[in-house]
Point group: C2
Chain length 339, copies 2
DNA sequence: TTGTAAGCGTTATCAT
DNA sequence: ATGATAACGCTTACAA
């Protein structure tokens, strides 16, 4: 087993000082041609690579980015990570991924752990529980320590930092608008409980579009599901309880699952009932019929988040000018709506 | 902005030495009750937390695990990461995720980067290109340096290390066996090109099951697709070219996509043609009809991989005894096959 | 041109 | 009971 070689080893072997080796490997002008060549050859031969940890300690820069997401088995978050990875790696940063599992405590623990020197900055989406508790002290502490933070998708006004979101309100508005233009009169919304920033925004867009199309806003047409495990009975009752000819769902699981239940009831899609989901993911693409969806552009979001973060990390000033980047939501039309 | 506090700050403030502070915070017996209380109170007040990087440098242990996967936007890998995260976090380790994007070069670069002190060990699945090139020198170098490595799912015999795989051969065997018992006579296989270890194993199981059920092994019934972007024309021609009453696909994208094309052709599923996919993921669950699938138990696989790795990382001996853990593949039966 | 020494934050060994 | 010192691996200002 050939252990990693250090400057010290090289120095001892070549009978020079450590600093000479260090400088030689940086091709410093101070060092003579001869010594440099000798040292560089030796280093190459023994495949010397500087120790990242030592450099981090010295520079107080880790070149690591901490990413905290509620759930990794989730297409949207996964595309965001891809975007973060892509941009970060290109800039020489690594990505440490932590999963909060929608739990406040895990979010706090992960953050504190990473904040103690492991990372240069955070990119995160709030856990459900955090949004429910509305407690953001862990985020505030981190920013007060001067660690840059970028929130994406699930954000809060309570914390001053850079943010990237899509225009959820407009996305919902476009979707409902399209349904209305197609002549749908009884447009329902299937959503989560309303402590999610995104759900509130989407519900607002839904209502606005109804009003702008001269349709009545009927709270019976809104179904709130408590979590991602779709309660089939609740959805069935909802579909039976009233006339519904179109449904907007705040995520693709809700959409695909509800669509399946509707099909089972004998509804024809999109003739009898249209469906639109949020998150233009893999489920939407392969569903039968394929699902019209509001694209959230996760990868783009990740790239922008990483860019914002790295900009802050590498800035020498720490003036506090925070931006919120709002991406346009776009409608990806497929078979579940009429063109 | 309150910067992070260090032992030095505390020492200066309380007019004691750094080592006294260090010991006091570790509740050492050497330090007097009084001093300890004073120091601990102060540390708590200013929310002192030791710097991970300094500790890593000192201990030559980072408590980080490097995970390299071909693609993060992929349900199976994502469940594996979840398992790795779960086990690792419980043991106090963080997970650094790198994506090779199925590229040999990126895999090498990521590995070298992390190997220079950033991580205590690697968990990885080989990229497509790496398997194609059959070049594993980067893995060998890492293990020669004494860095523990665990391969999962996409493995190779060329490297001596711990491995976790599912019994792909048996998974395919079970699936085809079931189709045969259901009276299917023309069972097709849709797979990737054969340089993937998993594809080879699945194809072997497929053939074995055919033979054991007295069915002819007909190479015209095997379709190799070059990548994950299903070539619809190829699949359509394949379905038209011969009598096929059942299909085994080596992943869920192939399965769901082919199923959709078959439906479009007017086939009734499962009556006219049955489908079984590998990877019991979200697509299989929500497909219409829902897809019978060979479950790969990704989360379990991740947990085992993490356990194996951490065991090696924390072992003081470095004797070379490597295990290959083989998980049982199980068949998750749904609507796309007849019960 | 080369080397010495201090420092990044921590811990452990060895004085005092 | 407390403190000085060296060490982890590296960089850099300063000496020689």
């Amino acid at each position: 087993m050939k252990r990693k070689i250090t400057l010290k080893h090289i120095a001892r072997e070549l009978e020079v000082s450590i600093s000479t080796v260090s400088k030689a490997l940086k091709n410093s002008e101070e060092i003579s041609r001869d010594t440099k060549e000798k040292i560089q050859a030796f280093a190459k031969l023994y495949n010397y690579k500087p120790n990242n940890i030592a450099i981090s300690l010295k520079n107080k820069r880790t070149k690591n980015i901490g990413v905290i997401i509620p759930d990794i088995v989730h297409y949207f978050f996964t595309t965001v990570i891809r975007g973060i990875e892509k941009y970060s790696n290109a800039k020489g940063y690594n990505v440490i991924v932590c999963v909060s599992d929608e739990s406040f405590d895990k979010e706090v623990i992960n953050m504190e752990l990473l904040a103690n020197g492991s990372i240069d900055g955070f990119i995160m989406a709030l856990s459900a529980e955090t949004q429910l508790k509305n407690d953001y002290n862990h985020l505030k502490e981190v920013t007060e320590q001067g660690i840059p933070l970028v929130l994406f998708d699930r954000v809060t006004d309570e914390v001053q930092c850079d943010k990237v979101i899509i225009n959820d309100r407009e996305g919902a508005y476009f979707a409902v608008n399209k349904l209305a233009k197609n002549g749908r009169k009884h447009i329902a919304l299937i959503t989560t409980e309303n402590y999610f920033s995104v759900s509130r925004a989407r519900a607002a867009g839904y209502r606005q579009a109804l009003r702008d199309n001269g349709l009545e806003v009927n709270e019976n047409l809104v179904l709130e599901l408590p979590n991602m495990n779709v309660d089939e009975e609740a959805v069935n009752d909802f579909l039976d309880g009233q006339k519904i000819d179109a449904v907007l769902c705040v995520n693709e699981i809700f959409a695909v699952h509800s669509m399946k239940l509707a099909k089972r009831k004998g509804f024809k899609i999109p003739e009898d009932i249209s469906f639109i989901g949020f998150t233009d993911g893999i489920l939407s693409k392969y569903a039968s019929p394929s699902l019209t969806a509001v694209a959230q552009h996760g990868q783009k979001m990740g790239e922008i988040a990483a860019q914002m973060l790295i900009e802050k990390v590498e800035a020498d000033t720490d003036e506090e000018n925070f931006r919120t980047e709002i991406l346009e939501a776009t409608l990806m039309e497929r078979e579940s709506t009429i063109n």
